[in-house]
């Protein structure tokens, strides 16, 4: 049997086998076993068949063979002959798709000359136009691909064809008429785009436009499981590119588009607006100037009468795009476009604040930052009227509405002209800024407004303050005197004005000062700093206003240009206050301010190695005052909270220094520059005097700041055992004990090598200490266990696999099982000392590791546990879960769900309940199918926890959380699951509506509203 016979047999049965036959023929051609002539001769019989299907399949065979033939097998002459032959076959109505495929295959095997290309194009147009006569998409598609390829590779040839034959383009356009398949349309659009953008279309412009606009708007919706992956968006994008491709379309495009803008379909309007925007961007200023006012008249309605917010946004973008395009041309058309806009906006501003004045403000602010010309024209058109309106306004609300527009215009002006530190979009060589003409008037209004209007006019004064800030930022607008005036007014508000409401004005004033400090640091230092300092006495006489001033002053440190000065002034003030015996409250406030300022500038400290001045000037004196017992020791330093502040200040300065530098202090870690030997001080000496215990707070913060290479003042084993002994002392204060335990975590986390870490607990576990002995267990020892584990688990050490099982074993401990269970919540709790900034070793996966080692074992042990000890497992579980991101938990959730539900029944364990509700809520959000089957028990338990229960009252937090979680249920579970509970939920929640706490009531209202909606949502479906 010949190949063609085999092919025909296989073709209908199995396309792949047919292809293999064609491939075999191709190989034989390449090897010389088969002559091309023979192949064609064999085909002849079938090409002449009466049956169209056979002819078509014969062409398919030829196309496939040509597709498989390796390059260079066919000579130029052979290819030409084949080409002629195949072209002649296009007269036959059958197999046109295969003809195109075969031609494409030939083209890939050798470039054509221009004559050949023109011949192919003309023949196609003559024999196969219009293409829609071929009913099968698969027939038309290769033809379109062929034409697309011709346009891509032989542009000149086709262009010459167009230039030499006047009727070519109209025939070409008509050829694609009536195409409906989205896959083909994608190609048609890209084909037609070539003449649109590159050819002189002349009289055919309208036909060409109609050829694509007929498809507007695209309403295609891909079938489910669409194998071709063409979305409506793809089609819309291509169509839009076509419409916007040439300015020749403008006379047809804009009227047609605006006509469709009246459509009632939001999607159509959205498409229209998108298309208008891209057309405006592409058509160029000359064309756009002809339509700009028409467009304005149409687009403004979308903004003045908002139907959908995103349509208004698009319309605004459209208006801005027109201004942008016109800015590229001469001034006349731009002026003509802006004039009606200015007129209309001015009219709307007359009755501010209304919906339409707000819309006018939106329009102005969106257009104004387009170019220097636009912003200048708008300012000249709007501001004079606005100032008149402002002066004649009879109420504050109107004035506020007007000033809001002013502020928007100034902001836009900054976008264009830049601020003091950087140029704007117009660059350095921008033309004059028209704002300078109105500078004095604008400054006068906002300055006066902020200064003289009553303090209860909050929103008005906020706008004024914003106006001042923006004015002070505009590049080269105000002189330093004017900025000085603004600064004076702002700091006067911060310092002297009496407090009102939420103090929004004060907050805005100080934030503005920070921003001005960014622009003009020296002016702020000269004008505002003395005023602040004058308010801060060296010693206070019980007055308390200084805290507010200190807060404001410390905020200025967040601007790096003034950071150093802020710190310097605060430090001097602190020294003065201490030497003048100021009150403890004042000293604490000063320390807080220093710490706050350092925190704000901590990034600067890290970059700047020159922090040693802070070390000399701040850290050393503080440490000496801490440990001293003479007159230099302020009474405030006897307070544990103060020492905590001191410790944190030292920490933040020391932690960015090098290990060598740190060692200077490391040797004084416990002695703190006093003359007592280390061995007589805590934690090494238990019997040390009371005041020495407090300094452990500062030592802990210092230790936290050390790099792990820094040498400690004693052997690490000694330190660990001393700390373990020390923390067990019964008379330690809570904070001293807490920091000592954290010191233990820090030492273990930072200073053991990975190998030593595995055995680091052995000294404590072995006799005589026997930390893990069940008989010796007591609360102090339990704390030590958790402190040590905390240091280890952050490093994900393998030794955890040995330690955790022992810990889990204690959950069934007769006496201390519950205490141990509560301890689990400390394991993964975030800690502000054990952090990366403090050079701790924190493995990225430590949470996963602990989760994997603990949680499955807890669920397992829970099943085997006795009724009395079961709550311990639930408590431990929630202690772990509450600190875990949900994506770690999600895989295990199905096995946890029953435990979580039982946690909701616990009595008195509110943290446990809260954590359980949190996890259940996350489960509902991320993996609702897990909860589905437990819907009944989930709903009833949440209900029970959302109302006040006399026997075991749960706190408001839990009640509100239960309501919020319950609100998720109807959103996340299937309607048929939820519907049966609707009555019950709505009825029971009525009680929560009368809860004593507002937080619960508001959660209950929302939850109940959601549930009331349940059956109604069902009606819609």
């Amino acid at each position: 049997m010949s190949d063609i016979q085999q092919f025909l047999l296989d073709y209908d049965r199995n396309k792949r086998e047919a292809s293999q036959v064609a491939q075999k023929s191709a190989t034989r051609l390449a090897d010389g076993d088969l002559k091309l002539l023979m192949l064609i001769e064999e085909l002849g019989e079938y090409f002449n068949s009466e049956d169209g299907a056979v002819r078509s399949k014969a062409m398919a065979y030829l196309a496939e063979v040509l597709g498989f033939v390796p390059p260079k097998v066919l000579s130029l002459q052979q290819r030409n002959l084949l080409c002629d032959f195949i072209l002649s076959r296009t007269e036959d109505g059958e197999g046109i798709g295969s003809c195109a495929k075969a031609l494409l295959a030939l083209e890939e095997r050798g470039k054509w000359d221009n004559g050949r290309v023109q011949d192919i194009m003309e023949t196609l147009l003559a024999n196969t136009s219009p293409l829609r006569q071929y009913k099968q998409q698969s027939e038309r598609y290769p033809v379109l691909r062929l034409i697309d390829a011709l346009l891509a590779r032989y542009r000149d040839a086709l262009r010459t064809l167009h230039d030499s034959k006047p009727d070519f383009l109209s025939r070409f356009i008509a050829y694609f008429d009536g195409e409906k398949d989205p896959r083909n349309l994608m190609v048609v659009f890209s084909i037609l785009r070539v003449p649109m953008t590159e050819w002189d279309v002349g009289a055919d412009a309208q036909d060409l436009f109609d050829a694509v606009f007929n498809y507007f708007p695209i309403t295609f919706r891909p079938p489910p499981d669409d194998p071709y992956g063409i979305t409506a968006q793809d089609l819309k994008d291509r169509l839009r590119e076509c419409i916007s491709s040439t300015a020749d379309f403008a006379p047809y495009a804009f009227p047609a588009l605006l006509d469709k803008l009246d459509s009632t379909s939001m999607n159509t309007k959205r498409d229209v607006l998108h298309t208008i925007i891209s057309s405006v961007k592409e058509y160029g200023p000359r064309t756009v100037s002809l339509y700009s006012i028409t467009l304005w008249d149409a687009l403004k309605f979308e903004i003045l009468n908002v139907q959908e917010e995103d349509l208004a946004e698009e319309a605004l973008d459209g208006l801005a795009a027109i201004a942008q395009t016109l800015s590229q041309g001469t001034n006349g058309p731009l002026n003509a476009y802006l004039r009606p806009i200015i007129k209309e906006c001015n009219e709307h501003l007359e009755d501010a604040p209304t919906k339409q004045s707000q819309a006018a403000a939106r329009i102005l602010s969106r257009i104004a930052n387009v170019s220097p010309d636009v912003t200048n024209l708008l300012l000249a058109g709007i501001l004079p009227t606005m100032f008149t309106l402002f002066q004649s306004a009879d109420n504050m609300a109107k004035r506020r509405g007007l000033l809001e527009v002013l502020v928007q215009l100034i902001k836009a002006n900054i976008d264009v002209y830049g601020d003091w530190r950087s140029t704007g979009s117009a660059g350095a060589a921008a033309p004059n800024n028209a704002l300078s003409q109105y500078r004095d008037q604008a400054l006068d209004i906002v300055l006066h407004g902020l200064e003289t209007s009553p303090i209860n006019n909050v929103s008005y004064r906020l706008v004024c303050a914003d106006g001042l800030l923006q004015l002070s930022k505009v590049r080269e607008l105000l002189n330093e005197d004017d900025i000085g005036k603004i600064i004076q007014l702002l700091h006067a508000i911060v310092i002297h004005e009496e407090s009102f409401g939420k103090d929004e004005i004060k907050e805005s004033a100080i934030n503005s000062l920070v921003e001005i400090a960014h622009q003009k640091p020296q002016v702020v230092i000269d004008k505002a700093f003395p005023a602040f300092m004058a308010q801060l006495p060296d010693t206070d006489e019980g007055s308390k206003g200084h805290v507010a001033v200190l807060e404001a002053f410390a905020k200025l440190a967040s601007e790096e240009k003034v950071f150093d000065t802020v710190i310097l002034r605060l430090k001097n003030k602190f020294s003065a206050a201490v030497s003048q015996n100021a009150s403890s409250g004042y000293i604490v406030a000063l320390l807080s301010a220093i710490l706050y300022a350092l925190t704000k500038g901590s990034s600067k400290l890290e970059q700047d190695p020159n922090t040693s001045t802070y070390y000399q000037d701040i850290v050393l004196p503080l440490l000496k005052r801490t440990s001293s017992t003479d007159g230099s020791h302020p009474v405030a330093f006897d307070n544990e909270t103060t020492l905590d502040l001191v410790g944190r200040i030292c920490n933040i300065v020391v932690r960015s220094q090098s290990a060598e530098k740190q060692e200077e202090i490391a040797s004084e870690l416990y002695t703190l520059f006093r003359n007592t030997p280390q061995a007589e001080l805590p934690p090494f000496s238990i019997s040390a005097p009371l005041e020495t215990h407090r300094t452990m707070i500062v030592s802990t913060h210092l230790l936290a700041s050390f790099r792990k290479e820094t040498r400690l003042p004693c052997e690490i084993e000694l330190l660990v055992s001393s700390l373990a002994n020390y923390t067990q002392q019964p008379d330690l204060s809570i904070s001293v004990r807490s920091v000592s335990l954290r010191q233990l975590s820090l030492v273990i986390n930072k200073f053991y090598s990975a190998a030593a870490l595995k055995t680091c607990m052995d000294p404590l576990m072995n006799a005589p200490f026997e930390l893990f002995s069940p008989e010796k267990l007591d609360p102090p020892r339990i704390r030590i266990i958790f402190a040590c584990l905390k240091g280890i688990l952050l490093r994900s050490s393998p030794v955890l696999a040995k330690l955790y099982p022992q810990l889990l074993g204690f959950l069934s401990h007769q006496k201390y099982g519950t205490v141990i269970a509560h301890g689990f919540s400390t394991l993964l709790q975030p800690d502000d000392l054990l952090t990366k900034q403090n050079h701790c070793q924190i493995s990225g996966l430590h949470k996963q590791k602990s989760f994997a080692l603990l949680v499955p074992n807890i669920t397992q042990a829970f099943r085997d546990a006795s009724t009395e000890t079961r709550p311990n497992y639930l408590i431990a579980l929630s202690g772990i879960l509450r600190w875990l991101p949900f994506d770690i938990v999600i895989e295990e959730v199905p096995s946890l769900i029953l435990l979580l539900l039982q946690s909701l029944d616990l009595k008195g364990e509110d943290f446990v309940k809260e954590a359980a509700i949190g996890t259940l809520a996350s489960t509902l959000r991320e993996k609702p199918e897990v909860v589905q089957e437990h819907a009944g028990s989930l709903i009833s338990r949440l209900l029970a926890n959302s109302v006040v229960n006399k026997e075991s009252p749960s706190p408001a937090r839990v009640r509100a959380a239960a309501c919020r979680c319950l609100m998720l249920v109807p959103d996340k579970l299937k309607l048929e699951v939820v519907l049966p509970y609707r009555r019950q939920v709505c009825k029971k929640l009525t009680a929560a509506l009368d809860d004593g706490k507002r937080e619960v009531r508001s959660a209950a209202v929302r939850c109940r509203a959601r549930w009331l909606d349940v059956d109604e949502a069902g009606d819609d479906d």
Partner: protein, 196 residues
């Protein structure tokens, strides 16, 4: 809905609307501080020692009762959307805090309080005033505990037919009948969908 009766209503700024956030978040201190320095020492590290405090549930529950007051009623209804505009009744000044009155139970034996809400239509001939009143009423009946009686009226002198509308809103049977009407419920649901 295209022919709006009042296409260009006056709008209040959000920061001027009465809000509880204003006072309660900031507990006024005697030293005038704003609490900027309070977080310098994180709270959880010291306070949340689970061994030390065997879980008293008292932290936020000091037993004090926060009564339902006018502001709370305002918060419930000010976020309802106007049927004409995508704006809230609060920002259109249709509902105003001073026009909400809670009357305590008339006798010590009764537990029934009354909430009186007077609404101000944006224009005097607004035919949607009834719908707005109905929306407010439905919202309050859903959100307040049953011991409250809800009374919604048009503020005197702000509407051309206020008495007729008030009669409609006060008539229990007509309200119930209105709620059976599917189209009307659709409008109401849309109004209430923006409630917080």
């Amino acid at each position: 809905m295209d022919d709006k009766q009042n296409a260009n209503p006056t709008i209040l700024s959000l920061s001027d609307l009465p809000s509880r956030r204003r006072e309660s978040n900031v507990k006024r201190r005697d030293d005038g501080a704003t609490g900027l320095f309070d977080d310098l020492i994180p709270q959880y590290s010291y306070l949340n020692d689970p061994f030390e405090q065997p879980l008293s549930s008292s932290d936020s529950d000091d037993g004090s009762v926060e009564d339902i007051d006018e502001q709370e009623v305002y918060d419930l209804i000010s976020s309802i959307s106007d049927p004409e505009h995508p704006l809230s009744l609060g920002s259109l000044a249709v509902v105003n805090l001073p026009d909400i009155h809670i009357q305590p139970p008339s006798s010590p034996h009764s537990s029934i309080s009354t909430v009186l809400v007077e609404i101000t239509p944006t224009i005097t001939h607004c035919s949607l005033a009834t719908v707005i009143g109905l929306g407010v009423r439905v919202r309050l009946e859903q959100a307040l505990p049953p011991r409250f009686r809800v009374d919604v009226r048009i503020k005197k002198g702000t509407h051309s037919t206020d008495e007729a509308v008030n009669k409609q809103l006060g008539d229990k049977e007509r309200v119930a009948a209105a709620l059976e009407n599917g189209t009307l419920m659709g409008v109401l649901r849309k109004m209430l969908s923006t409630c917080e």
